[in-house]
Symmetry: D2
Subunit: 337 residues, 4 copies
């Protein structure tokens, strides 16, 4: 951290700031510029709270030098993390495809979808049993019944299961059924939940909050990693911007940037990032070309009957076409599908 | 809801859409424009899921007509809701001032602050016992010990207590100590928590998510109201924008707009909305002038020692000056303080 | 400026960076931290281009220390600038009110409005003769005929005239009629135009771009000031955010922050910042309470007949009521109206 | 357009609204819903100004049905527009690569770059002679001298020239040297300039404003098209969001969406969209995979010496590697390079 003093800061104010930093166990180095004095901090600046320093008399502002995430950082763990689960690897040379409906609506709907996505080439089945919905009057999910249907689909197809958990209290129950616990975008800052999935020692699919920076996403991963749970998969799913023609704006920059800043695998969710099924295929191809380790895509047997997110769901036939179109793109960037 | 068909939509596609709408219990009215056909829906369009319709062949898009919130709406409840709690009213002619530190750090810190804000004119003491922090390595709050200190401060000063709850599991415990349960900005979309505080039948201070729309905020209120808990206080606390000189951007438009759309009381939080103590006073005056029913302000006896949000906290002496400066502004808009 | 080196930077890379900085006429100061080496720059870092340094091998990123604006800065000019024009002062103890229609539509419309706003207490008449419109098919303004009508209104009422200029080529013509040249939000980054109004040596009302930062706004002011034209009036008119219930989001924080960072007068435009006439009055009061030096407000004799921005225009009677309601707020913050 | 009346609207208010619409030459169709009355407009609703209607008593809001762009729309011109210029086609099966420095700095710098990008496979040379810079103290370009150097590079290499024009007054001069006129992001809303390049009848590269919606971009294209100049090339170059780790956020969704909404060719600018040269290659591959018709990329022989945008410029050798890596991606989506 660097501390920039105000032009009019007094010698006594500067001494106070230095005393405070030293009291926190760090050293200082003073640069007297023409217009401003700057105090550089020597030692582990991560331990210092910048807000305390900023509030001191004579201080203009502080500037962080170190990224605040540590375990999630590639500096800490230079080689790629490959998350392994029952024969499936996420983050390796082979791409991973997760697909399925937004919500588990019925046994028939889920099994039909599961068989279809399996055949098209998916390795993981998605489907929500607990749904975070903007309206209290919307369908909130089948709860444990939905989890049982997901488990049955795994039995029938051999697909792994990823499903969302929305309440710390439900982590043990969801863990009993699911292979991967999903933290949804609306809960990326729900620290009670992040602690709970960290402790669960299960693989976690962490979706970026629609209002969250890349740094905040890596800090959310840090919460999970700090419990010794290293199997974290990041997922870019679009951010909220001023544009209204699409539901969200896929931050494609985030895909290579996350790969550069962190060792964790990075998926992309083109269904939520666009909100329009017509855009899912081109944006899926873009994500793979940008270096994503895989995709999570909404597929529904009758999208026009879906109880949620129908407008962004693909029919199984279109999903199969999409997967076919992805293979040459994957090869073009040295990956396999 | 209105359904806009594609220019090239066929007669059969239109008939399908109409059949679906009628099957959902609504009527239709067709307008054949020069370039587009439009289907108006008669009956309670709120029951229809627009995504299902949007996914049907021949449909270009749908347009909502009704606002999705109901119990939170002024149409539903035309007169102002005044939340009453132990002799204090929120939403009436008298403004309410909530003040205190970001986090409860110690008995001494809290009691000193409580006496100071009481003397300056506050009616409610704020202070976090459970802190949602971006970093897992930051101070996470004193937990139940913090709640006990808050209760002691209430005993000593007569101030009411507002404190944040971050986990549905903790709602009963926090309710045992606090007069008002706060839902923080990071949890505005945490529906498990909204359900829990709805059931708790305690007054709730609902802070706007930093990237949540006004509509989403009113839908979050709707979650709480749908449990029959009518004592909801809305709080505008700044939204995330591209501007980086301030921590957030106070959406001052939201204050009169929320008062117009809803019957619920509306507070403003100038501390988080600015992130800079120098801006707290002018933005507080602005919020009152815009029609806010009160303020929630961070006050700390030694902001430069605060373990969180020091940069946006006022010293007690500045807080007292602020309250004095607010009185003529309140009078200018026909309120008392 | 501070240069942060990569963890793996070599000694040779560091030496290269230092050589480059010294070659640009600045000195350096090296801090060897545990995890990173930092190079502080001594001398006038404003002369250095951070992008050149950032592109050098071994450099992680650079951090600016100084704000990039100089003539617009309060450090450069500590006392408030009061812009004086024909007996009217902007930025002094007395607030300034500019009002009138979005566009000059006819002689009748403008004269009627001019008399009404004069009577209600405005000192300056606004009205566009050249309109920047999103659609090429919308009304583009009466051009020089509109300017002549504005001049006639000045003759009749004694009001000063502010009107927008959208093309550098038109600056001399518009200057021949107007007292104040307005740079609209869409042209805040139009540097050819900023140069032209800088050279014109006329007072300029500079509106913030709808997605421009406070820093960029002050840099746009710097363009004008760098031509020796010191009569620049800043105007916060709302920024573009994700919120869709209002046309823009009034950045009320910007009002006190601009007053703190700069010596230039600051107005607020509640008409564009809200886009809804019902919100104009409360947001006007908020802007005055936050410390604005005045307001610019859209008034139209028949808003429902206006060819542009009707939805945000006040009728003359409501405008007069608004001015009356502003007087006690102005007094409450030590200003007069 | 559809008009939604307020719940409490009177019969007389409704009749007024209808009379106004009919007076504007359109018909109406009334839907009496349970909670709201809706007026559908029959005829060419594009002629109606929604703001006039919204301001009428009894009206809650209006809802546009038609997209406001016409000549830019694929409905108007269903087949792809291919812009042809001296043997190069933009928008056809073959991708187009434009490359070169941000600014023309010297004859040597430009010629060296021109030869390098030509050899690597580019067809068009970019380079700014007039630079819109945030700071008045930054390098503003070599002006006509820069244009002459660009023309010399065309002579030597056979590359076409694209360069930015920032002032309507300069359009004839720049047209005398350049093959393609560029409208930069900061000028996308500069309507005086859009008119001038529309009249110039030269091919135009129109960059999306960093604060502009897709609809606004297509309306800016409409300005140029409305002068009968059909050779417009759209360019997505990243938008401004809350994310700060990158300079802008590439809106990858915009690429397929623009291709769907419009018949005009669509390029992507990964240099500005990321601001970091390390991200240019993966984001370039993503843009091609998403369906872009080509790229415009910053290349500089010594990026660390560049007077602007050095941090986002590629060295010639890396640019050549990028082009090589793009070929298989282009093939994977059925294009050639």
């Amino acid at each position: 951290m660097i501390v920039i003093l105000k032009q009019e800061a007094t010698r006594a104010q500067m001494d106070n700031v230095i005393a405070r930093i030293e009291q926190m166990g760090c050293g200082v180095e003073i640069s007297q510029g023409e217009e401003r004095t700057i105090i550089g901090i020597i030692g582990n600046g991560r331990r210092l709270d910048h807000e305390q320093i900023e509030r001191m008399a004579g201080v203009e502002r502080t500037v962080p030098i170190m990224r605040p995430f540590k375990r999630a950082s590639r500096d800490f763990h230079p080689s790629d993390t490959v998350v392994k689960l029952n024969g499936v690897s996420v983050g390796g040379q082979q791409l991973i495809i997760m697909a399925g409906p937004c919500a588990v609506e019925s046994r028939e709907q889920l099994l039909e979808t599961a068989h279809a996505v399996k055949e098209a080439g998916a390795q993981v089945l998605r489907g929500g049993a607990y749904k975070p919905r903007t309206s209290p009057y919307s369908f909130q999910g089948l709860a444990e019944k939905g989890l049982r249907i997901l488990a049955e689909a795994r039995e029938e197809t051999g697909l792994l299961i990823v499903t969302e958990v929305i309440d710390p209290y439900l982590v043990p129950l969801v863990s009993a059924y699911a292979d991967i616990l999903q933290i949804g975008a609306r809960n990326m800052h729900n620290y009670a939940l992040l602690h709970a999935v960290g402790e669960a020692q299960r693989p976690v699919l962490l979706k970026r909050g629609m209002m969250s920076t890349i740094e905040e996403m890596l800090m959310a991963a840090e919460y999970i990693l700090s419990h010794g749970n290293n199997r974290v998969i990041l997922c870019e799913r679009g951010i909220r911007t001023f544009e209204t023609y699409t539901r969200n704006t896929m931050d494609i920059n985030a895909v290579p940037l996350l790969k550069q800043l962190s060792h964790l695998p990075v998926l992309a969710d083109p269904s939520h990032a666009t909100g329009k099924w017509e855009l899912v295929a081109p944006v899926s191809r873009a994500a793979i070309a940008a270096g994503a380790d895989g995709l999570i895509i909404e597929v529904h047997p009758q999208p026009e009957e879906a109880v949620s997110d129908g407008a962004q769901s693909l029919k199984p036939s279109r999903f199969a076409e999409l997967i076919d179109s992805l293979r040459p793109v994957a090869e073009a960037v040295g990956r396999t599908l």
